[in-house]
């Protein structure tokens, strides 16, 4: 039973969006996880979604930001920051001023340092809980959100978190809708001034395109040539595995069940 949208106050959501980078061409685009976050926010009942971006506005980033507007938004709030600025104080100010119920972001940026720290620092700054790697927001009721967190190996975990909260979106969340060209052209980017603080550390670091990581060599530490040869020519073997011969199927099944329970794969 979903309450009537008119009775309850609309759920205020702010989605922090960033300018992504296409992995092959390197051109600016909607960041994948941020776009998934926007899609997640739109899927909620009675949302009041606001898009927020902090960064410089130039030709490339404007096209990327208009990509978010093309998902069905009239406006995007833009905190103008120079290139290489620390956007944290500006975002924290804007969020504490607007005080939304839920803040949705991607896990990490596709440009710049991309450390994935921003949601944690914002949460620390605002004193809100933070939940990472979301696949779905199932329900929001009475200031408590029920979330589905994506785990490795395709698993999911259900969490309840008290609002206001910051959540980050995993790549397992539903794919974003296509950006429509007309609304993207018509939407406006509302520039808002904010505090600017420069990031000195980033300036002092050496940044270069990623080198290919060296492949790890299989180092065999053996005393004699015979041991080295054996290690090189050996077939995969468990070594010391338990073999049950002449057992009834029930005994065998019990041994297997014991191992499965020890490993915790049975639910």
């Amino acid at each position: 039973m979903r309450p009537e949208p008119s009775k309850t106050a609309p759920l205020e959501i702010t989605v922090l969006v960033s300018v992504g980078r296409h992995p092959l061409t390197g051109r600016g685009r909607r960041a994948d996880q941020d776009a998934r976050g926007v899609e997640l926010a739109r899927a909620l009942p009675a949302p009041e979604v606001r898009l927020l971006h902090a960064g410089a506005l130039d030709g490339g980033s404007e096209a990327a930001l208009r990509g978010y507007l093309g998902m069905g938004f009239d406006a995007l709030t833009l905190l103008e920051q120079p290139e290489g600025a620390d956007v944290l104080p500006a975002l924290a100010d804007a969020l504490s001023e607007a005080s939304p119920q839920l803040v949705i972001t991607g896990e990490r940026a596709e440009q710049g340092e991309g450390s994935g720290l921003l949601p944690y620092l914002l949460a620390e700054w605002l004193g809100w809980p933070v939940v990472n790697g979301l696949a779905e927001v199932e329900d929001v009721q009475d200031g408590v959100a029920t979330l589905l967190q994506a785990l490795p190996r395709g698993q999911r975990r259900r969490l309840k978190v008290r609002l206001p909260a910051i959540v980050t979106v995993d790549g397992a969340a539903p794919a974003p809708r296509q950006s429509a060209y007309g609304p993207a052209r018509r939407g406006t980017l509302e520039a808002v001034p904010g505090p600017v603080s420069l990031d000195g550390d980033w300036e002092s670091w050496q940044v270069q395109p990623a080198r290919k990581r060296p492949k790890r060599l299989k180092i065999v530490k053996a005393a004699s040539a015979r041991d080295r040869f054996k290690a090189a020519a050996a077939k995969a073997e468990g070594g010391g595995g338990q073999v049950l011969t002449d057992v009834t199927p029930e005994q065998g099944a019990e041994a297997i069940l014991k191992l499965l329970k020890e490993e915790g794969v049975l639910r």
């Binding site: 994935g116 395709g154 395109p209 468990g238 595995g241 099944a253 041994a255 191992l259």
Partner: protein
């Protein structure tokens, strides 16, 4: 076996008598066969090739160059295992601590954790005059026995009901308590989706440090001895893996897998430490409602955790599918089962199909072709159900049941269903 050496006068006599038919055998037995090499009067090494080896059971002379003969001189009783031979390193008064928070997937140190401990050892052992100690912080119960071999000097095991499951806020509180108690010089956390990436970032935000994330290389660098004085320079991945950032190593670092070689040559003390004061009680705003049942058929084979795989030995396919459903396992198959049309092609495991990374792999009626064994190489536990006790899969398996696969699976399904029934009645 007694360690007392006893003289055998008869063997000594044979050893002296070069013409005795058993002369060479006895020489080898007494360990005097090594007299095939000696220093000559002029300092030259002289060799007697005839004195090498022994006469085999068929009267043919055999030379064993594996070194087993010389090594076996000490007897079976005093054979030492590899673990005992590793030197034990004890650091009583460490100059500093390097804290590591391993993921402990499934209660054991993962490969990523071991790499990270190797990195921690690099940091701790850099200065031999003032060695540091590696401190591992482990949450909850574990099944790991190799903490000492992984290079851990000090171990803190924190067990509390509020730290179980997904409890990042309680765990963060515990880590802050560790920080207050021992103030480690470095914090190393695996940058992995299994919890380390989340916890490490929380810790950095709480400690007010700017961490290095995605660290994959570490080198000593005198120039990096800047304001923080770490003396290390790290290379970290940035911008979704497209940038390399070189920077001095901060206090908190989140490292990728294969960032260093795991510890293999030494053993360490793995001494237990306990926190001086109890963990602070705190109100958690995140409540864990537990894992959600996921349709195992929808999970990609390459990342499934638990695979039930069928091969040529399976005749009862309905029973196999039922077993997979009841156990909640993802289905896999060997090439033969796929070629015969019993399973779809995308379920094939092995070199020509999917390379799987399951934690538990149950091979039903699979003999274990080398291509198949390659495909299951990263699997932690392999269970084999097979009729043939001599096949390769049995050699690879941690647990092998010799018997008819249909009957064993049927018994397993009955057992699981009965236990679930009992649990339902009890609840």
């Amino acid at each position: 076996m007694s360690e007392i050496q006893r003289r055998d006068p008869r063997k000594e006599w044979i050893a002296r008598n070069r013409l005795h038919p058993q002369h060479l055998e006895v020489l080898a037995e007494l360990g005097q066969g090594a007299a095939s090499e000696w220093m000559g009067p002029s300092g030259l090494v002289r060799k007697n090739p005839h004195a090498v080896g022994f006469t085999g059971p068929h009267g043919i002379k055999r030379i064993d160059r594996s070194g087993v003969q010389q090594g076996a001189g000490g007897g079976v009783g005093s054979a030492t295992t590899g673990a005992e031979r590793k030197p034990l390193v004890e650091i009583d008064e460490p100059a500093f601590l390097v804290a590591v928070v391993p993921d402990m997937t499934g209660g054991r140190l993962s490969g990523h954790d071991r790499d990270l401990l190797g990195l921690a050892r690099q940091l701790a052992d850099a200065d031999p005059r003032a060695p540091g100690a590696v401190l591992a912080v482990v949450f909850g119960a574990h099944k790991e026995e190799g903490f000492a071999d992984a290079g851990i000097d000090r171990l803190v095991q924190l067990e509390a009901p509020e730290l179980e499951g997904y409890a990042p806020e309680a765990r963060l509180g515990a880590l802050v308590a560790v920080e207050e108690a021992w103030a480690p010089r470095h914090w190393l956390v695996p940058d992995s989706k299994l919890g380390g990436a989340d916890l490490g970032r929380r810790l950095a935000a709480r400690l007010g440090e700017r961490p290095a994330t995605g660290v994959w290389q570490l080198e000593a660098d005198a120039e990096a001895r800047g304001e923080d004085g770490s003396g290390w320079r790290c290379t970290a991945r940035g911008a979704a893996g497209t940038l390399d950032i070189q920077r001095p190593l901060p206090r908190v670092a989140l490292a990728l897998a294969e960032c260093a070689e795991p510890v293999s040559e030494t053993r360490h003390a793995a001494e237990r430490l306990t926190l001086p004061q109890a963990l602070p009680a705190q109100l958690s705003r995140i409540e864990d409602l537990g894992q959600v049942a996921v349709d195992p058929a929808g999970v990609a084979l390459s990342e499934a955790e638990f695979i039930l795989s069928a091969g040529n030995g399976v005749r009862d396919w309905d029973g196999f599918h039922r077993a997979a459903r009841v156990l909640g396992a993802t289905e896999g198959a060997s090439r033969v089962a796929v070629d015969d049309g019993f399973m779809p092609r995308d379920r094939q495991v092995g070199a020509t199909g999917t390379w799987v990374t399951a934690r538990v792999y149950v091979a039903v009626g699979i003999s274990g072709a080398i291509q198949h064994l390659q495909g299951i190489q990263p699997c932690e536990k392999v269970v084999a159900i097979n009729m043939d006790p001599g096949c390769d899969m049995i050699k690879r398996a941690d647990l092998a049941v010799i018997g008819d696969s249909a009957q064993v699976l049927e018994a397993l399904v009955a057992l699981v269903e009965r236990q679930r029934e009992e649990k339902r009645h009890a609840a």
